[in-house]
Symmetry: C2
Subunit: 205 residues, 2 copies
DNA sequence: GCATGTGAACGGATTCACAGCG
DNA sequence: CGCTGTGAATCCGTTCACATGC
């Protein structure tokens, strides 16, 4: 195993392995192999073994991997054994859908606060949370030490809101808004623009 | 320019270039350069020039690129000059948010029908569309010749529904459900799992 | 002068193939 | 024997650097 520095592209595949392993666990499977896991994900078995080898030796030769223990190792590596506190900013249709999503907690993310700048929305309940005003956002995030945010505000506000989040101490932003953000390099940003993904496919139609 | 076969990774970047060019156009910019575009996207200028070179010569030496005409070329390459008809299957919180999104049409995607299997939802209006029953889905998609779908059903139904979509003639699926689908190789699938993206970031926290 | 388009050089990721071990 | 873990080989993508032409 290499302790040098793990290529980002490897880290990007680990959550996928984890998701499939959790699914296998739910199916009652106890053992799997790099071959089987790869087949389910459309990835080569060598790729999976090589990826895992960056972090240690988790398998038994001749046997394969224990599903639950490998899932546990991946959770540990990805730091999602416990759930991170997450804030959602922008409670429009999409933000509301995100906030209502019950699939986050099991996977290491717990939504703890919702913010919006529209006074008409302040005080609205979504799931078991109440929408708060963005005026209080920075202080609230800082007080609670939240480090992860989901951003679902209109495109023209995205950059400004993101800067406020960074000011508040947020270090990872999942951006649902179709815009490139310009932020300090120590802040990580991932984008989810469905149209980009669609346009990747229309090329091939 | 190479007519051989464009690497998929290049195709995946084109929609991003297009999105930024449209934004520049909206800002009133007429000319740009690979350098400027790259700076806005966090991509090297050489990368952008090389990517574009797979499809032709769109710039003027010493000057750069005309924003609108390069955007037009990319739309043509990605086949999004006209909007594709798209169906949305699964009208829960997320599907409803997707269906209400007004940002699709300008970018080459027009939602034309909504389907759900829950009889309580059939007939509900979302935006200016009415939710239809999945019982009619295959026939309806086939009749209208729709080739693109967005899938936002619960995980356990995703595979079965996706197979019905394929049967109906769908060739590209954007899957909002956190599951790997197993479909014929001629059907393209892109996945949008926010948790995967988040877990890529928690590794670095 | 300036920015494109591109062959060549480089670096990194994937695949191969096998030693090692249960 | 079967499957992992891993160096070596291969493949592929990015960057370099410059000729070309506005």
């Amino acid at each position: 195993m290499a302790t040098v520095q793990v290529p980002e592209i490897v880290v990007r595949r680990l959550p996928l392995y984890l998701r499939e392993l959790m699914k296998m666990g739910a199916e009652g499977r106890e053992i799997t192999s790099s071959q089987e896991l790869g087949a389910r994900l459309g990835i080569s078995s060598a790729q999976i073994r090589k990826d895992l080898s960056h972090f240690g030796e988790f398998g038994k030769q001749g046997t394969g991997y224990n599903v639950d223990s490998l899932a546990g190792e991946l959770k540990r590596i990805l730091k999602v054994e416990k759930a991170w506190d997450v804030v959602v900013v922008g409670i429009g249709d999409l933000g509301r859908a995100v906030a209502r999503n019950t699939g986050f907690v099991d996977r290491g993310l717990r939504i703890v606060a919702l913010f919006d700048s529209d006074s008409a929305k302040i005080g609205n309940r979504v799931g078991d949370l109440t929408v708060e005003t963005t005026a209080d956002m920075v202080a609230s995030i800082r007080t609670h030490g939240v480090r992860v945010a989901m951003l679902a505000v209109p495109a023209r506000e995205a950059q400004a809101v993101a800067e406020k989040l960074v000011e508040a101490g947020i270090q990872a932003i999942l951006c649902y808004t179709p815009t490139s953000l310009s932020l300090p390099v120590n802040v990580r940003v991932e984008y989810l623009d469905p149209v980009l993904r669609m346009q990747q496919m229309t090329y091939y139609l």
